[in-house]
Symmetry: none
Subunit: 151 residues, 4 copies
Amino acid sequence: MADYEIRTYDSIKVGEKATFSKTVTQVDDALFAGISGDFNPVHIDEEYAKTTQFKTRIVHGAYTVGLISAVIGMKLPGPGCIYGSQKVRFTAPVHFGDTLTAIAEVIEKKEKGKRLIIKTTVVKDSCVFDSGKFPKDTVVAEGEATIFMMK
Amino acid sequence: MADYEIRTYDSIKVGEKATFSKTVTQVDDALFAGISGDFNPVHIDEEYAKTTQFKTRIVHGAYTVGLISAVIGMKLPGPGCIYGSQKVRFTAPVHFGDTLTAIAEVIEKKEKGKRLIIKTTVVKDSCVFDSGKFPKDTVVAEGEATIFMMK
Amino acid sequence: MADYEIRTYDSIKVGEKATFSKTVTQVDDALFAGISGDFNPVHIDEEYAKTTQFKTRIVHGAYTVGLISAVIGMKLPGPGCIYGSQKVRFTAPVHFGDTLTAIAEVIEKKEKGKRLIIKTTVVKDSCVFDSGKFPKDTVVAEGEATIFMMK
Amino acid sequence: MADYEIRTYDSIKVGEKATFSKTVTQVDDALFAGISGDFNPVHIDEEYAKTTQFKTRIVHGAYTVGLISAVIGMKLPGPGCIYGSQKVRFTAPVHFGDTLTAIAEVIEKKEKGKRLIIKTTVVKDSCVFDSGKFPKDTVVAEGEATIFMMK
């Protein structure tokens, strides 16, 4: 078995931060549609998408929750954590080819239940379809997670 | 282009309900890991998972958000909707082979911004690993979504 | 379990129509090659494809049968149907990035065996490689399906 | 570029036969659902499938057309062929884990248009869910293809 560095609740400090970046490909989103069953045409039908305010297909908002899950599950706090809850607001569209960064920052520790409150933000580091309204550096998703550490 | 039945905000009534069911396979979760980057060992390392309170690998909580996205994006309200936000609490583990049902129910309409508040619940219709604590019929995720309709 | 609206044979009328649209990506076709085993070079070897009358890689004809299966299995008649048979003629090449619409239309009901005869047509709503011979609006596959309803 | 052995119409004899076998996994069918959009519950919802005459989830019939495409596109006649049309009757259910063999046999050559008529049969070589009615050796799909050779 791999050696996992399991963080304890006590070792984690408010203010700790971690990031995970990924260029979102058509593959990622096509597979997301396939595993979730969400074939809403704004994601898979370019002709329909052209008729909407988005002008072209957009990535599933729920996919960005996966990137948040990655930065939490892999880095902060990483192995040993349990996902309690997630709030997320989808604030700008994401397109195939955009590079996103998911940022996790511990903003509070709740002794009752030994919960970590983690601010979760996903920003565009680059974008392939710049509508002017939502350029590079735009926040595409923001919210917070509650995380427990396994005993 | 396909004929899409686009619901208007006005046509949607509080109390409307829709469901989407899927048996969650190892495929779904392996692909979810692959597209999100969340390789937390509790999802992909059976030897590690055995040492945890879960006793075996569990499905990513964030994956269940995809099923919520499916029932909203495909059924209620379906094409024409915009995902504003999602709150979700992960309340029980999910295992490969469990059959889940995502349930969407319109619980409120907010005239300001013409938002729909949709209660989102994911329940186990069957489970392959019954720990006694989390059998069939357990709610595995609960929360609510805010949805806008495109103009 | 999800609430499925199961159509009865009697409720289905000749002339009913349904559609399903999808932009066909390289992902879709790469996965189709991977799950079917059809690695014919006209689909996966761009250098070879350039030497053919198609000038570039084309999508598997058999993939378009999947879109027909989708409109039948999801919409007309949807859950409760059994796929009896399919005839399909492949009438024009499809390229990655083309948006296709699969159209199902009930053209006959056969009381013996309670079979539905469904005309199945797949057309290009847009195309990324316009050879002049096969532009937008071209029918790429046409034929018919025989469908039974479960008892 | 790879060396492809391109068969000529004249070199192909009536009676030639080729086969391709594959064990159908949950992966294959989950991906087929994902790329086609066919999430009919008989394929993806075990609880629903239990209530049907099939008793458990079945593989998409249209997927077996992919195996036919493979034996034609890879072996008989292989590279250089163009898929003109396919007729297929789905004669028995297929389950995850079944091993299928797609058989192509040239049954006629039509000088007009230089078409090959190929009998296409898919049989179960093994099956994991033996309902008694459809055991090992059952034909699951049968029909014929019309194939052209590129000039």
